[in-house]
């Protein structure tokens, strides 16, 4: 007769163990690896490992001229490519003391906001997918397609545009641009109601996000969590309001602030922001002044020696560009303060003590884009 061997059984509830989430995991939205330390299914701590898509953009910038650098900034946060371009263009214009025509400012502001809506649409659809609702993914991508079509019509590219150049725009907008944008707003006003019906009011989604991953206002400021994620904690950090650029000082819009600081608050901020962006576009689209789409710039742009800093509100938070110039055509040192990098640093703090399933929801609500973290 066989002897029964009693193997020692480890109690998984008591012992701490580690799980690698990523680098290939759908909910990390890219190549990010999170080493999660768990007790049972409670997250004890979490260590992000970055760098899987580090391309050394800051080092590359030291060898590139300013018009070339614009093409690299597309590839950081590719979902707010226009806004990244805007930051570098404004920095160069400020350094060379070039005033761009009003027409350029209007067009840039409209396109920035279209870009923000497209980015929030993609965030919404992937957030819905993280929560287990695949329908959201189709709805979001369907509507984002409309914006990409407008972009394609006007300047030929859909994701990495490099449409802004120092001094203006690469080309003028398409004659259909105004009509296409107005049609889109009418279309999206109807469709965004579906978003609320499908996901915002969904009781499962609310149960999974309310009170989950709370980030206090003090911590949001201290961790430098900006953008919709910071505003979900009540941190008034909208660069468009605090340090206006483009024509943001001429339009009326609200800075959306929520004070709960949980995953649902961050969700709601983005949902409201899409409405605000449409409001901004509506105020500008019929009033684009006539004029040149670009000013004549020198063939080789050399910034005067000195330091320059430009802040813009990208779709995920504050993007800062720092340039130290020694008077040459390439920067001596260029630094990008990317919003996602700071937002990621808070992930460990806000996911502690929650369930590992909550981590997916929290990560979705921080909306990180990995190439922007790694640069």
């Amino acid at each position: 007769m066989k002897e029964v061997v009693n193997l020692p059984v480890k109690n998984i509830e008591e012992e701490e163990y580690h799980i690698n989430m990523g680098p290939q995991h759908p909910s990390t939205h890219g190549v990010l690896r999170l080493v999660v330390s768990l007790q049972g299914e409670i997250v004890k701590s979490l260590k992000p490992h970055c760098g899987y898509i580090h391309r050394g953009i800051e080092k590359m910038c030291e060898k590139d001229t300013y018009p070339q650098i614009i093409h690299l900034t597309d590839r950081m946060d590719y979902l707010s490519a226009h806004i990244n371009n805007h930051a570098v263009c404004m920095l160069v214009e400020k350094a060379l003391e070039v005033e761009v025509p009003e027409r350029v400012k209007y067009i840039r502001t409209i396109i920035d906001e279209l870009n923000r809506i497209a980015s929030h649409q993609l965030w919404w659809c992937s957030f819905g997918m993280d929560m287990g609702g695949l329908t959201c993914f189709f709805y979001g991508l369907r509507d984002r397609e409309k914006i990409l079509d407008i972009f394609e019509e006007s300047f030929g590219s859909r994701l990495l545009h490099s449409y802004y150049t120092p001094g203006g725009l690469m080309m003028d907008i398409h004659p259909n641009f105004q009509k296409s944008v107005k049609d889109f707003i009418v279309y999206f006003r109807k469709k965004i109601k579906d978003y609320d019906d499908l996901l915002t009011g969904n009781i499962i989604m609310q149960e999974r996000t309310k009170g989950v991953g709370i980030l206090s206002k003090e911590d949001a400021v201290s961790y430098g969590v900006t953008g919709p994620s910071g505003r979900g904690s009540g941190f008034s950090c909208d660069v468009r309001k605090n340090h206006p650029y483009g024509v943001y000082d001429k339009v009326e819009f609200n800075e959306i602030l929520m004070h709960e600081g949980d995953t649902f608050a961050r969700y709601m901020v983005r949902m409201h922001e899409m409405h605000e962006s449409m409001k901004i576009i509506e105020q500008l689209i019929d009033n684009i002044p006539a004029g040149d789409y670009s000013v004549k710039m020198k063939a080789v742009l050399k910034l005067p020696a000195g330091e320059y800093f430009q802040r813009v509100e990208a779709a995920r938070g504050e993007l800062g560009v720092y340039v130290l110039s020694d008077g040459n055509k390439t920067p001596f040192r260029m630094k990008f303060r990317s919003p996602n990098f700071s937002n990621l640093s808070a992930l460990d703090h806000i996911s502690r003590g929650g369930k590992i399933a909550d981590l997916v929801a929290i990560g979705g609500s921080l909306d990180y884009v990995i190439p922007d973290i790694d640069r």
């Binding site: 080092k59 430098g224 800093f309 640093s345």
Partner: protein, 152 residues
Amino acid sequence: MNNEQLKERILGLVPDAEFQENKQFLTFLIPPARLHALAQKLRDEEDLAFDFLFCLTGVDLIKQLMVIYHMESTRHKHQLVLKVQTEDRLNPAFDTVCDLWKTAEFHEREVYDLLGIRFNNHPDLRRIFLDEDWKGHPLRKDYTDEVNIVEL
């Protein structure tokens, strides 16, 4: 506070602060030994209240290595730029400020990774982007890599 008032306030705290010309921000250089004490005061004193460190940059100035802190007060809306630099290129080190601004923890790891500047008392000073066994610090001006950097 406007920049003039800020300047006087800072000279009261650090008499040997060296102000630099900058159109955008009030910029000054301080001796590294005073960094942590001044940063603490900048954050905690009621009339200064610099609670938002929005950028932390490391720069290789060929002779020196420099770290730049861009900060803003969310209450008073004023901004300033603080700089520290060292000529020690072999073992450059400054005090950490990540006990004051938590965002500095990641940013200081980035500066350590790419420029090799160490931060004293940092809780977890490891490379953040590159592999642990990577040789050298790529943003140093004297960094060479014949395989990955193509000179045109």
